[in-house]
């Protein structure tokens, strides 16, 4: 059983947001409710102002605080380590949203990010919050995994494109869009990334490209102090001198 993880290389990321829009297309996200967002920051004064950005998917923690707080066990981890939400069990209490240190869980609000509400243009029936003509194939929808059109009253989150990665051939080290054998199983945000700033693979496989990059370029995880143990690593130029993370052991 793989332990899927992601590496995001900030040295080559161009801040284009293709990860955001590809995720939204693949997972039928409402405009602006981004499972995969890119956050922009600026600091300093003219003329020496620094503009920077950080792509932010779900960190798919090994020790996810969202799972431990869920009162109905709607949020759970799969055998291959992906954190999912069972929409059939979720009661929309939002405890998980409070517990998540990374702000990557979403409750569908009545007020849309963009007016007029696209849900009115493509209305759904019953609990189906909307029904876009471009919605994913019926075979991919799986409310027990939080995949498909998000119903009213539940929380949703990045699934690492579980409808894709869970179908991957057994034993592969990486899901690489450049490899025709694994292209269709690669998460949308990784597959689309033009500068190839994203990599997806098995963290338990010492030979995987993701492990190679984490080692070669000094991968770090966000908010290690929470003890959540994210499975998303960031690279920012490589080299040995980096802020040490919990994965490191002091010599």
């Amino acid at each position: 059983m793989p332990k899927w993880g992601m590496v995001i290389d900030l040295e080559t990321c161009t801040g284009c947001q293709a990860c955001t829009t590809a995720c939204a297309m693949e997972n039928n996200r409402l405009p602006g409710e981004n499972w995969q967002d890119v956050l922009f920051y600026s600091e300093g004064s003219y003329p020496n102002m620094k503009l920077s950005w950080l792509p932010r998917p779900c960190m798919q923690c090994e020790n996810p605080s969202c799972v431990s707080v869920c009162p109905t066990r709607a949020t759970y981890q799969t055998e291959d380590g992906v954190v999912l939400v069972d929409w059939n069990k979720c009661i929309g209490c939002k405890y998980c949203m409070v517990a998540c240190p990374y702000g990557v869980r979403f409750y569908m609000d009545e007020k849309p990010v963009v007016e007029p509400d696209i849900r009115a243009a493509f209305p759904g029936e019953g609990q189906r919050s909307w029904n876009p003509p471009f919605r994913m194939p019926d075979e991919y929808e799986d409310p027990s995994k939080g995949i498909g059109i998000q119903p009213k009253g539940v929380v949703s989150k990045c699934t690492f494109c579980y409808h894709k990665v869970s179908q991957a051939p057994e034993g592969v080290a990486d899901l690489d869009e450049a490899n025709p054998e694994t292209r269709e199983f690669t998460p949308a945000c990784v597959r689309v990334c033009a500068p190839k700033a994203r990599f997806f693979g098995d963290l338990d496989n010492p030979e995987s490209k993701v492990n190679e990059l984490i080692a070669e370029k000094g991968g770090v995880r966000l908010k290690e102090e929470t003890g959540n143990k994210p499975k998303v690593y960031y690279l920012s130029g490589g080299g040995a001198p980096v802020v040490p993370g919990k994965r490191s052991t002091r010599s």
Partner: protein
């Protein structure tokens, strides 16, 4: 929750439906590598796999022409990814690419052909469109055009177009104008696009086109106002290249980017230079000055002093006889009339960039090979754009990057077969000798009293028609352009287009469409069969094909077929010509015949294989300059040395066959240029510095860039775009006016306040975003919103349109519309 569970239990194995018309280009998706193909019983037992069909198409949201795989299941298009074996997209996409589903399923699309019932036209007039049949629509157009022609006034029909894609759409227009008899069929939008670079390059190297670039092998890129990581085409491939040259290539390519605000390009570069708008030429001249004084020019391409001793010393003239030029012309004369005084300190005063940063940039650029200097509208959309462009492009010659590895090339065309019929056999007397041939173009392109040297002047069509000078148009047709909105000071067009019969062919409502008498809606791109030869990319020839993913959702017709159907209804031999063409599919089949004799690298040899692969291409680019010698590809390597005549015929297409710092073409038009601009006839043929003219009457520069999510012609009505348009300053839901903190404070403007932006052309409001990354003398407002007749989402965005306070001023030589040069007043609203 029952509904959800019910939907699960309803899962079934659906057969592909509604995807006819694309059979030859489809492939059923399986689960490659697992042995569990989707159609096998075993796979269906393991897990229901969708019966997905993938068709090849070309993205329509910018000029780049990325090959895309369109995923259709149960008749629904639900995913778009880059085509893996397409040379531009390579399986990748920019943020716009996946949003094509929104364009196909836009609920505001026209449903079919319509005619206007309210003769009054204006922003607040309801057109009163009513549905009509295609026959009625096409007959109406043909009757009108036949009558106009019989009255000897065929020149009063104009066809204006924006993004022409290929031979089966815009490629048909020129022939239509030739057979019908109008100098105004067709008028392109290039002067409102980027003719400033095309014509400034033409003056120097003789090629009237955008360059192809070998980014992957360059070690230095110097960018002037290009938005490389936002808008420079091909954006998707630029980002692929960026990952390579900035992350994986050895040595890492160094980048200096010049702009007026900090965008993602400047942030990701090694050095960002914030320049005073319109002064890029001064910076380039100072860099050239340093390259010469410090002896950094590429001697194998430019030549050298005969005795090898560098005599370029600031302020001192040099005798041309001492210098022997190789592939350039006029270097020492340029030095004497201009460059010798263009010191770093001089440029610092003009550009507002510190001298030490200019010097460092110049030394890096001059001493790193290969290096390239690239530029677009930021640099040349000013009254002095011709010279800014010439100065920047001259840097490419000084460092020898023309046609070199890691340098610049020109784009080769595809090996198309012949059209089904030769239009020259269908020319009647009027077509051959009619009085229309003596009529000027409505935009005065090519006229001494207009824009003698320009390619197009679409921005002048509205004002000229309004003035009835040179004449009044009778009928105007539009393809993929919406000038009532996109033209600078479009308010003039709103008035001008009230008294002319208008035919719009957009699939979508638009401001120009709001004035239409007839709507003949096109398919959207995912429904079209359409060719698209590449824009300048890597030089080697390539042409792509759009294959319909689904049957047209509505009663629409491909624009190319609309032209052909109108043509068939024209009297005389013109109608016969279009009957011989048949339809666009027949045209495409004939074009594809050319591939038989010249198969693509990917095995494309005919129409069917073209549909299957979506692209024909043939690598490599066949010319290369190495250390001052030009070679041609021999099939395996660049070994065939080219003569000077061959270089002139194929590459440096100037009268001298060299890269002309002293431009023969400028010199040939010196009297006209001097008369119209007051420029010095002794200097105007060189890349010189000239102060830009900033109209508008205000004190702040208004710069209105296109941003990464600007999906051509439709981004404004895509809610996913609206949610993400301007991420660098948090522009989500609307576009912000970036204003420097000091500038804002002096005007009592706080972050988030509404501001009034006004010029002599008009006034708009926008929300201020106080941003330390923008120059204090400049505001930046993306050109995106302010649509009033283009769809429900764009209408709801509060940001108004930058064009309404942009003055219609153009570069007299290039015709380039000066979009980024107006000065405005900004006050708290």
């Amino acid at each position: 929750m029952d509904e959800i569970n019910t939907s699960v239990s309803r899962r079934r194995f659906l057969q592909a439906t509604g995807v006819t018309g694309a059979a030859a280009a489809t492939a059923v998706m399986g689960v490659p590598g697992t042995g569990l193909e989707a159609t096998s019983a075993e796979a269906q037992t393991a897990r229901a796999q969708p019966n997905t069909v993938v068709t090849k198409n070309i993205c329509h949201q910018c000029p780049a022409r990325c090959g895309i795989d369109v995923y259709t299941t149960d008749g629904r298009v639900h995913a778009i990814y880059g085509t893996a074996d397409h040379p531009i997209s390579n399986g990748k996409l920019c943020p716009k690419g996946p949003l094509g589903v929104y364009i196909l399923y836009d609920p505001d699309r026209w449903r079919g052909p319509m005619k206007r019932t309210n003769p009054a036209k204006g922003r607040n007039e309801d057109p009163g469109f009513v549905p009509i049949s295609w026959d009625e629509a096409l007959d109406t157009v043909a009757a009108r055009l036949n009558a106009l022609r019989e009255a000897g006034e065929s020149h009063r029909f104009a066809l204006l177009y924006g993004r022409g894609w290929g031979a089966s759409c815009a490629g048909l227009q020129g022939t239509f104008g030739k057979l019908y008899g109008s100098p105004n069929v067709a008028i392109g939008h290039s002067s409102m696009c980027s003719d400033g670079s095309i014509i400034s390059k033409k003056m120097l190297d003789g090629n009237a086109g955008y360059n192809a670039y070998d980014y992957a092998h360059t070690n230095y890129i110097l960018m002037f106002g290009v938005g490389f990581l936002e808008a420079f085409r091909p954006y998707n491939n630029n980002m692929q290249v960026w990952g390579h040259i900035r992350g994986r290539k050895s040595p890492k390519t160094r980048v200096t980017a010049v702009d007026v605000h900090v965008n993602t390009t400047l942030a990701a570069s090694d050095r960002g230079l914030l320049i005073r708008p319109g002064t890029d030429g001064a910076l380039a001249l100072a860099i050239a000055h340093v390259i010469l004084t410090e002896g950094l020019w590429e001697k194998s391409f430019v030549g050298d002093f005969r005795d090898g001793r560098n005599r370029f010393v600031a302020g001192q003239s040099v005798s041309p006889a001492l210098f022997e030029e190789k592939w350039t012309q006029g270097l020492v004369e340029w030095w004497n009339v201009e460059l010798k005084d263009r010191t770093v300190d001089w440029a610092a005063g003009i550009t507002d960039i510190p001298a030490d940063r200019i010097l460092a940039t110049a030394r890096e650029f001059g001493s790193t090979r290969p290096a390239m200097a690239i530029y677009e509208r930021g640099a040349h959309a000013h009254s002095n754009g011709i010279y800014n462009g010439m100065a920047i492009h001259s840097l490419n010659a000084l460092v020898g990057s023309m046609y070199a590895v890691g340098g610049l090339m020109n784009q080769m065309g595809p090996s198309y077969g012949a059209m089904p019929a030769d239009e020259n056999e269908y020319m009647d007397d009027w077509a051959q000798n009619g009085a229309w041939k003596d009529m000027p173009r409505i935009d005065r392109k090519g006229s001494a009293d207009g824009y003698l040297m320009a390619n197009n002047m679409m921005q002048e069509v509205g004002p000229n028609h309004l003035a009835g000078n040179p004449y009044k148009l009778d009928t105007m047709m539009f393809y993929l352009t919406n000038p009532i909105w996109t033209a600078p000071n479009g308010q003039v067009w709103e008035e001008a287009l009230k008294d002319v019969f208008i035919i719009d062919t957009s699939p979508f409502p638009s401001e120009t469409g709001h004035y239409a008498d007839l709507i003949l809606p096109d398919h959207t791109y995912l429904e079209r069969l359409q060719d698209a030869p590449t824009y300048p990319f890597q030089g080697f020839p390539m042409t792509q094909l759009r294959v319909p993913a689904v049957e047209p959702l509505h009663d629409t017709k491909y624009y190319g077929d609309v032209l052909i159907e109108i043509g068939k209804r024209m009297n005389g031999p013109m109608g016969e010509y279009y009957r011989a063409l048949g339809d666009t599919e027949n045209v495409l089949r004939h074009l594809a015949e050319g591939f038989r004799a010249d198969p693509g690298d990917n095995g494309v040899t005919d129409f069917e294989s073209w549909k299957e692969k979506g692209v024909w291409y043939k690598k490599p680019y066949i010319y290369r300059q190495v250390n001052g010698t030009f070679y041609r590809w021999d099939g395996r390597d660049y070994t065939i040395e080219m003569t000077e005549e061959e270089v002139q015929a194929n590459l440096l297409k100037t009268p001298s066959g060299r890269f002309e710092f002293r431009s023969s073409q400028m010199e040939a038009n010196a009297a006209w240029i001097a008369e119209r601009t007051g420029r010095d006839p002794a200097r105007l043929m060189f890349p010189i510095w000239e102060e830009p003219q900033h109209p508008g009457g205000g004190d702040l520069f208004l710069v209105t860039p296109k941003v990464a999510l600007h999906a051509e012609g439709r981004g404004h009505n895509i809610p996913m775009v609206i949610a993400h348009l301007q991420p660098t300053v948090g522009g989500r839901g609307e576009a912000f006016c970036e204003i420097n903190p000091a500038t804002a404070e002096a005007r009592g403007i706080g972050d988030g306040d509404m501001v009034r932006i006004s010029s002599d052309a008009g006034e708009v409001t926008a929300r201020a975003r106080v941003y330390a990354g923008v120059r204090p003398d400049t505001i930046v407002l993306p050109m995106e919103y302010g649509h009033w007749a283009a769809g429900r989402w764009s209408k709801a965005v509060p940001t108004q349109h930058s064009g309404e306070c942009t003055i219609n001023q153009s570069d007299r030589v290039t015709g380039q519309c000066n979009y980024y040069t107006t000065k405005v007043n900004v006050t708290k609203a």
